[in-house]
């Protein structure tokens, strides 16, 4: 196959590309330029981190003996991932930009461009497994997305947004790696200089890691009230977008709660520009409502129900609402217009609209939706 290996400049994507080469594919390395920061006259700037990353990606391609190119997807990135990030926070929701990047950039803009230029698949350094099983009664093979062998590194949560067509053109060679340490050792053995490069954790376009500062700079100051569940004003804020459901720290509340217990953000109301706070037990979630669902397991979840009535049959699953959150036992059923209703059987707290909801059956990803609302336990 002709494979485009997305090279971020990190160790994972370099080893993934190396494994694709070993598997006999015709591999070309591409680094995506995503920053719109265009310093017209570069004098004085020592180059941003992305330029260093591009250099590391180039050296990885050299070591692997594959061609290397930089593709500028910065405009698309700004128009989708960054714009969505800001719009979601401005709307009182809590977005996951990595999910949006996988959805709109890596497995849409990059993949579509690659296919148009003659590639068969895009290979990334994500930790997840694609398992191909024979279709029922001799039909086309079914591709399943599963958690990585190393559950500590598993990234199936941020990949679940992909539909089956895009999954069919994706390769994750690190899915069965035993651990990140093993991948680093493999990189070192292959002579890849990025083998000891530190992991990146922050949101890539918030360079200093100060998300609140980034939001304040881009969205401006918007003072409003912090209220309790009865609507009494208990404090003030400088922009409701800076708060997320379940947050405890950073609340500037003058008066202590009557019962003296700590208070948490229960809700962000963008229209009235208020932040609602209350006790921890008010955060417990009994049901999650999702929209814009993408399904990867029609054999389990069934068809979308027609009309307005109720929903399809229930299926057992585990629900996960954060990249590194624990999955919670649940049952779910599809609802009309691309929705899903999930009733959780375990302890799930602080779920915010905008978060990505991923449903699993064991290691298998069943589907993904965006949290639209919750019901209290």
């Amino acid at each position: 196959m002709r494979v485009l290996a997305a090279l971020s400049g990190g160790v994972d994507s370099a080893v993934a590309a190396a494994r694709a080469v070993d598997a006999g594919h015709d591999v070309v390395g591409v680094h995506m330029a995503l920053s719109r920061n265009r310093d017209q006259f570069r004098t004085g700037s020592r180059g941003c981190c992305s330029i260093e990353d591009a250099g590391d990606a180039r050296r990885a391609a050299d070591v692997l003996g594959i061609p290397y190119y930089v593709w500028d997807l910065s405009e698309r990135f700004e128009d989708t991932v960054v714009a969505d990030f800001l719009a979601e926070y401005a709307a009182g929701r809590t977005p996951n930009p990595c999910v949006r990047c996988n959805e709109h950039i890596k497995f849409e803009a990059l993949l579509d461009k690659a296919v148009a230029l003659g590639f068969d698949a895009v290979c990334t350094g994500h930790y997840a497994r694609v398992v191909t099983r024979p279709g029922p009664d001799g039909s086309a093979p079914v591709r399943e997305l599963h958690r990585a062998a190393d559950l500590a590194k598993d990234q199936s949560y941020v990949l679940a947004v992909m539909g089956p067509d895009r999954l069919a053109r994706s390769m994750f060679p690190l899915g069965d790696a035993a651990s990140k340490a093993q991948v680093r050792a493999e990189a070192a053995a292959r002579g890849l200089s990025v083998s000891a490069k530190p992991d990146s954790y922050d949101i890539c376009f918030v360079a200093d890691g100060d998300t609140q500062g980034f939001l304040r700079e881009r969205l401006g100051s918007l003072p409003g009230d912090v209220v309790d569940v009865d609507g009494r004003v208990v404090g003030a804020h400088d922009g409701a977008y800076a708060y997320t459901v379940g947050q405890r720290k950073g609340l500037s509340i003058g008066r202590p709660a009557p019962d003296g217990r700590p208070r948490y953000v229960l809700e962000v109301r963008p229209v009235s520009n208020t932040v609602v706070v209350g006790p921890a037990d008010a955060l417990a979630v009994g049901a999650v409502l999702g929209g814009d669902a993408v399904w990867l397991a029609d054999d389990v979840v069934g068809a979308e129900p027609a009309g307005r009535a109720g929903g399809a049959d229930w299926f057992a699953c585990q629900a996960q609402v954060r990249a590194h959150g624990d999955p919670v036992p649940a049952r779910a059923r599809r609802t009309p217009h691309g929705g899903v209703r999930v009733e959780v059987h375990g302890d799930l707290r602080g779920v915010a609209p905008g978060q990505s909801l991923v449903l699993y059956a064991g290691t298998r990803v069943l589907g993904q939706a965006t949290v639209e609302g919750t019901e209290r336990a």
């Binding site: 006259f41 004098t43 930089v70 500028d72 698309r76 128009d79 989708t80 969505d84 230029l117």
Partner: protein, 430 residues
């Protein structure tokens, strides 16, 4: 087979230059040493200096050897600014064309940010030619406060030759020195430093078939330049650093050879380039030639027939609507055809060319740019190889442009728009 169509980036070394370079690499001697090995090295450097001067219409004493074109440009812009502003603190203005190479633009903007300079970018017309009226107006408004003018001899992206005779005449009326980056011009068009009236001129080794890492600034006798590199005081104290004897000699041989062969080489390369332009237009009807038209198709330009076009002989530059330069470059490179997107590349990050933007090209059109540059080793087979694959590459790049432009872009007539407005919504794209 592969076709190398990127001679403006760097051109193969001339055999004569390779011969003298490799021969000199085996010899020892610091040209500043006083013993016989040093004197021998010094003699080699000075003979090279004389050869360079003779080929370029300069005096040997006007040749300041540097480590390349970028250093020579920095020395000209910073050295002239510091020297002029030092003599008369009112002279702080720097006038440069908007289409200069970054080696001129960036020192000029750096001086504006760090040394109190006032840098003015002079506009160009749609072919990339300097707007002389704008220069005249700037000089009339503040000639006595102007430290220098820098206008390139020929543009590296679109090949446009600049009206230097007029620039020099205007600037000298106000006593303002003029520098020109002639890195792309030497060996391509006649370059005579004395006849040009210029005060300083940049030339580079590897663009004319010499080695990488050497160049020169021709600086008119008596021109006061403040050094950028301080140290051992070589090159009349203007440029310190041990002289590179082997590279100097190879550089001089390359310049001499290229300048002597220029009439024949330029005529041959012009024919190849004109053929390339005609055939690209035929094969890709949407392609837009940027810069002065060497083969005008319409009668409107026929009146100019007989005049040489104000363009480098080996340069052809096109934009391909609906295509991204990176897709075009990928497709051609995969097929063994090597050219450039013609844009400023920092660590390979493509950005729309400031040259095309200054010429009034829209940003989305500027993204689909390719520069084909021919040189002394180019053959008809190179042009054939390009034309064999170009239509298919453009077709795929157009498809890729539509694909990566996003849902909003797909609706547009040319695939531009790049998903504007598609972002904030979470609609049908999923």
């Amino acid at each position: 087979m592969t076709a190398y169509l990127d001679h403006a980036a760097t051109t193969p070394m001339l055999p004569g230059a390779i011969d003298v370079l490799t021969a000199e690499l085996g010899r020892t001697g610091n040209a500043s040493s006083l013993h016989s090995a040093g004197r021998s090295a010094r003699r080699t450097v000075e003979e090279a200096r004389e050869q360079l001067a003779a080929a370029l219409g300069a005096r040997p004493g006007e040749v300041v050897l540097t480590a390349g074109g970028t250093e020579a440009d920095n020395l000209a812009v910073k050295g002239l600014f510091w020297s002029r502003a030092g003599q008369d603190s009112a002279r702080r203005r720097i006038l440069v064309s908007a289409v200069e190479h970054h080696a001129v633009l960036d020192p000029a903007s750096w001086l504006a940010r760090h040394a109190g300079a006032e840098t003015v970018l002079l506009p160009v017309d749609g072919t990339g030619r300097l707007d002389l009226d704008a220069l005249a107006a700037e000089l009339e408004a503040a000639g006595p406060r102007t430290a220098l003018v820098s206008v390139m001899w020929a543009n590296n992206e679109v090949g446009t030759l600049q009206p230097l005779r007029e620039v020099v005449a205007l600037a000298h009326r106000y006593g303002v020195p003029v520098h020109s980056d002639a890195v792309q011009a030497v060996g391509q068009v006649p370059v005579d430093f004395a006849a040009s009236g210029l005060d300083a001129l940049t030339v580079s080794g590897h663009k004319v078939g010499g080695p990488l890492g050497i160049g020169a600034l021709l600086a008119r006798r008596g021109l006061d330049l403040t050094p950028v590199l301080h140290g051992g005081g070589q090159e009349r104290g203007v440029r310190s650093g041990t002289l590179d004897t082997p590279a100097s000699r190879a550089f001089a041989v390359a310049v001499d050879t290229a300048v002597r062969a220029r009439p024949q080489t330029a005529a041959r390369v012009t024919d190849l380039r004109d053929d390339l332009v005609r055939r690209v237009r035929e094969a890709v009807p949407g392609a837009v030639l940027r810069g002065p038209d060497p083969v005008p198709a319409t009668g409107r330009d026929a009146a100019r027939h007989g005049d040489p076009p104000a363009r480098l002989p080996g340069n052809a530059h096109f934009t391909f609507p609906g295509c991204e330069g990176d897709s075009l470059l990928f497709g051609l490179d995969s097929a063994g055809v090597q050219c450039s997107t013609g844009s400023a590349c920092q660590a390979g990050v493509p950005q729309p060319s400031h040259v095309l933007l200054a010429m009034g090209v829209e940003e989305h059109d500027a993204r689909g740019a390719l520069r084909f540059s021919l040189g002394h080793t180019s053959t008809a087979a190179d042009v054939d190889a390009l034309l064999d694959v170009l239509p298919g590459v453009v077709e795929r790049a157009r498809a890729a442009g539509l694909a990566s432009a996003g849902p909003a872009g797909r609706a547009g007539p040319t695939g531009h728009g790049a998903g504007a407005g598609a972002g904030a919504g979470r609609g049908g794209a999923r």
